[in-house]
Each structure stands twice: as structure tokens, then as C-alpha cells.
């Protein structure tokens, strides 16, 4: 595709830079507070820190459990395990469901899709306590499994819809070709459809991951042992009506954001490079 004229390019770049700068501005304040000494809140016009110190990062990362083990590492690991497991379970549940909804015509299909959408409409205000009782009954309190199941279930409807939308765009001939090549439904799904769905899988993986990564209310309700905590709970520990520890809170927030940015970097080439090109016709 031909690029537009140079003045247009310059204007578009300039607009993009200005917009990005405005977008980053609030985040720079988080950065500033995370590296400035003291726990006080800071604001003003220039987010460039006057003094730089690593004390907050040390404080946040240096927490130690009663038995002397490195608590922060535990909690970071919890968060990563919970979020990755949520994404894996959520995407696994959603891909099979989405494929069936996209390709099969069975009684109850429409009703099922409606029901999935409807679950997104439940305001979360009322679910925490019943969920607590449910998981308590199943013995899944303070456990990674319980939390992962809840998060995954929460993320499934959106992932299903996104994946179904993507599967709908994949040409059916590919599956028919695979079928004639001797592949079963499952083989076709695993070897043909899933590799082609990479852009949508990347988006839904990121989405499911984020569902778990930043969730606080349920994590706080369901987890009582600090060694089982995920990072959002750790972060909320720095917030208090009597006075938030802004330095630690900001440093913690930055630490929490880094894995997300890394994950995004790792995934972004999948959703910016299409694979359907060349599947059919010229």
C-alpha cells in the first residue's frame, strides 16, 4: 500500500506523539512517586522526579514472611500462576465452546449464546458473599484452584464471543480440506483452526490474564493467608483511609504493570500479523 504524502505523515506522527504523551502523563506521576523518597502524595505539573531513590521498590519487594522466606517472590509467583492458569483455563474453555458455536448447528445454540452474554450483566456487588460460601463449601478457600476457576469462568463469555467472531471469518474450506485429508474434528481443531486463530487467541489470552492480574475484591475475600495473596491484595495493603503509603503503592503498581507490558510485547506480534492471508485465493 502506498504511503500518504510527507506532510500527512508528519501530521499523523505529531498527533500520535502528542496523544501518547498525554496518555503517559498520569503514569509518569506513578513513576515519580515510586522513585521519590517519602510516602507522601505528590502532584503538580511536571512529573519529573526531583530526587530519585529505590527505597520503595526495596520496601515492596523486600517483604519477608514470618518464617523468613521471601514473601514478595511468593506473591509475585502466585499472581503469575493464578493469571496464567486463568488465561489457560479460560481460553481452553472458550475456544472449544466458541468453535462449536461458530461451526455446529445444534438445538440450544442461540439460547446458549444469549445466556453467555447475560452473565456479563450480573453486577458484581452481590456475588462476592455467595461465591465465598460456594468455595468454602467446596474447600477451595485460600487456594489457587478456587481463584483460578472463578476468574476463568468470569472471562469465558467474552473470550467465547471474541473467538467465535474470529472463527466465523475463517474459511470453512480449510476444515473441509482437513476432513478429506483424514483429520478428525478434534485434529482439525487443534492442527488447523487453533494455529490460525493466533491473533484472537492472543487477545483473549491477554484479556483473561488481565481479568485475574488486577482483581482485588474477590482475591481479598477468598484469600486470608498472605502467602497465598496475589499482588493486587499486596498493593491494597498500602492504601488506608488514615493515609496511603504512596511511595510503596506507586512502586508496587509499577511492579505489577511490568509483567503485563512484557506479556503484551510478547503477544503483540501475534495480533498484528495476520495468518489468514494466503489461505484462500490469491
Amino acid at each position: 500500500m502506498r504511503a500518504p504524502s510527507v506532510p500527512v505523515q508528519v501530521v499523523v506522527h505529531a498527533a500520535l506523539i502528542v496523544f501518547t504523551a498525554l496518555t503517559l502523563y498520569p503514569i509518569l506521576w506513578v513513576v515519580r512517586m515510586s522513585v521519590s523518597p517519602g510516602q507522601g502524595f505528590q502532584s503538580g505539573l511536571s512529573p519529573i522526579p526531583e530526587h530519585v531513590s529505590g527505597e520503595h521498590f526495596r520496601a515492596v519487594m523486600g517483604t519477608v514472611a514470618a518464617d523468613g522466606s521471601w514473601l514478595f517472590a511468593h506473591q509475585l509467583l502466585n499472581s503469575i500462576i493464578v493469571s496464567c492458569a486463568t488465561a489457560a483455563v479460560g481460553v481452553a474453555l472458550a475456544t472449544t465452546a466458541a468453535y462449536a458455536l461458530s461451526r455446529f448447528r445444534f438445538p440450544g445454540r442461540e439460547a446458549g449464546m444469549d445466556a453467555f452474554l447475560v452473565t456479563q450483566m450480573f453486577p458484581s456487588v452481590v456475588v462476592a458473599v455467595p461465591l465465598y460460601v460456594l468455595l468454602d463449601t467446596c474447600g477451595l478457600l485460600d487456594s489457587t484452584v478456587g481463584l483460578v476457576l472463578v476468574y476463568a469462568a468470569t472471562s469465558v463469555p467474552f473470550s467465547t464471543f471474541t473467538l467465535k467472531g474470529f472463527f466465523d471469518t475463517l474459511p470453512r474450506e480449510l476444515e473441509e480440506a482437513a476432513l478429506l485429508d483424514g483429520a478428525s474434528r478434534l485434529q482439525t481443531f487443534v492442527r488447523i483452526i487453533l494455529p490460525l486463530a493466533r491473533p484472537a487467541l492472543a487477545v483473549t489470552f491477554l484479556f483473561s490474564f488481565m481479568t485475574a492480574w488486577n482483581e482485588f475484591v474477590l482475591a481479598n475475600t477468598l484469600l486470608s493467608d498472605p502467602r497465598a495473596w496475589t499482588l493486587p491484595v499486596v498493593l491494597q495493603r498500602y492504601v488506608d483511609d488514615y493515609g496511603t503509603q504512596w511511595g510503596n503503592f506507586a512502586a508496587g503498581s509499577i511492579l505489577v504493570s511490568i509483567p503485563v507490558v512484557v506479556l503484551f510485547f510478547a503477544l503483540q506480534r501475534h495480533f498484528v500479523e495476520g495468518l489468514t492471508a494466503g489461505a484462500v485465493k490469491g
Binding site: 474459511p171 474450506e173 480449510l174 473441509e176 480440506a177 482437513a178 476432513l179 478429506l180 485429508d181 483424514g182 483429520a183 478428525s184 485434529q187 492442527r191 488447523i192 494455529p195 490460525l196 495468518l275 489468514t276 492471508a277 494466503g278 489461505a279 484462500v280 485465493k281 490469491g282
Partner: protein, 345 residues
Amino acid sequence: MARIRLDAVQKRFGATRVLDRVDLDVADGEYIVLLGRSGCGKSTLLRCIAGLEEVSEGRVHIGDRDVTDVSPRDRDVAMVFQSYALYPHMTVARNLAFALEIRSRPRAEIDAAVKDAADLLDIAHLLDRLPAQLSGGQRQRVAMGRAIVRRPAVFLFDEPLSNLDASLRHHMRLELKRLHKRLRGTFVHVTHDQVEAMTLGDRMVLLDGGVVQQVGSPRDVYETPANLFVAKFIGSPQMNLWEAQGHGAHTRVQGVDVDVPVPADGKYTLGVRPNDVRIEAGAPMTAKVEIIEALGDEAFVHLLWGEQRVVARVDPRTAYDVGEDVRFTFGRAHRFDTTTGSRLP
């Protein structure tokens, strides 16, 4: 190697009847072409043979087996799709190998089969490329390669040449013919292009509105079209057709007396191929030259014959002037029932 037999195959989508009691017998090793306009049901018929569509009624046999309820993967058929349907995330080599990998064949066997197919189709140098890196013609070859690599009993082609340009299409036609000779498989080929059908098929099946209009060798179909539809569909330019009225030896076409080789009584549709319109001095009928189409090795003149039009194939070296009166007569003529369209003796 296998013959294919269809017994009264019907296919309905909801209330729409797409195939209506299709009976067909394809001999082992035969090259058969399904021909018709788009929407005539020819692709659906192919997909019924493949098993991609379930038939609503009737039976499908491949070889000695009734495969009506057999999954496509177990029918031992291969198909080349109009869109090629190459797996975009796999290299050419893996596209070719996929069917064998699925069947868990030994690696050595797979490699040998892929190499054979690639050599046969002259795509050995493309094996490491992705489909997106191939030209249209190359993709077409890969799609064919994917079909032949596992030597199925039946090859199905769904408009395989329609996405190619004219010269490549001609080349691939020959290639297909050659392939058929070498593989000795049963080929079923769907097309809307009569030239493709005439040149490739041992026999051809003409379909319209889900109904088989005629089955026969290209020669038969051309020489003795079974009905008006076939008569109009086969041959270019189209057969001349007029409403005719016969009284004993006299035949009149809209008030003009015409001279037909075999006169008959009553009303019918008279058909004469442009080939069979002979322009010669002293012939009984007169018409005025309207347009001359010179195509190099052949030429057609369009004549105004009263209120009728006549197309005649002529020697391109003979010069005609527009507006000139010429005399003509008919060679071979066809008669069809005007209401049912079927051929009259």
C-alpha cells in the same frame, strides 16, 4: 481404484431442493465432468460424493462400499477446492504431508510421497514456502499435489482452474489430462466452462436446477443434445433456434419457408448449429449480412433473416460485406419439443 454410483440422490436445504433424484454411474478410472451454470447443484453433487454434505435421500457408493453414512475422511477421496484451501500456517511440504501425517504413516514413506508428488507437479523448489509466498498458479499446483500425495481412489476437483488466467488455464488443462493418464484414478471435475468440460471429460454430466439433463461423451452431447437446455448450453456461438411449423414436406419458420433435411409435422423448435448453416450460391434461403465476427482461424456472420437472426460459421478467408444478401441452407438440424424442451427424433 473405484467406480462411483449415485442412486436417486436428493439434497434439500430446508425447503429448497438442490439435487433432485440424481442417478449417476462413474466407471473406475473415468474422467467425468459436471457442467452447469452456477447454482445448478454441480458443486453440491461433488460435495455429496466427498461426504461434505449429507444426502437427504438416496445412496452413494464408492467402489464396492455404500459410503452414504461414511465420514469424508474414510471415503478415500481427495478434493481440490476452488479456493485451494491451503493451510496458510504450513509450508508447502507440510501441506502435502498433512494427510499422511494424520494417518501416522512412517516418515520415510511420507517424505517419498511428498517428493513424488512435488516432482510430478514440478513444485519441488517450493516445498519450504508458505502459501502466502506463492503465485496463483503455484498454489493451484500445491492444491493438486495435496490431493494426489496419498493416491486416493477418487479425485474431486471443484472449479480448480477458475482462478487462473487464460493461458495458465489452458496449460493446466493439459496437465490435468496428463495427470489422469498417469494416476489412472477416477476423476470428478466440476466446472461451468464448457471448453474445459469438452476437452477434459471422458463423459460429461449436464446439470440444471438440480436435475441431470444429459450424460454422455462430449461428442454425444454436442452432436445430440438431449434437450433445449443442453442445446443452448453447449456450443459457441449458441445453436440457432426458431419456432417452426411443419406440414408434410413443408416447414415454415415465422412465415418463411425453410428447407430442412428431415421434415416433420406439427409445431416444434428447430435448432441448427452455426457449423451447419451453409452459405452457398443457389441455396434456397436468403438473408442479409448484419455483423461479421472474424476470430482469425474462424469467422461467424450474423444474418438477418426476415425477423429472425441466423449465425453461420464461415471460412475466414471469404469476404462478406455488411448489408450484402447471401443465400444459405441447413446441414444437420435438431428438433425439440417447444413445451417440454426434450429432443424429438
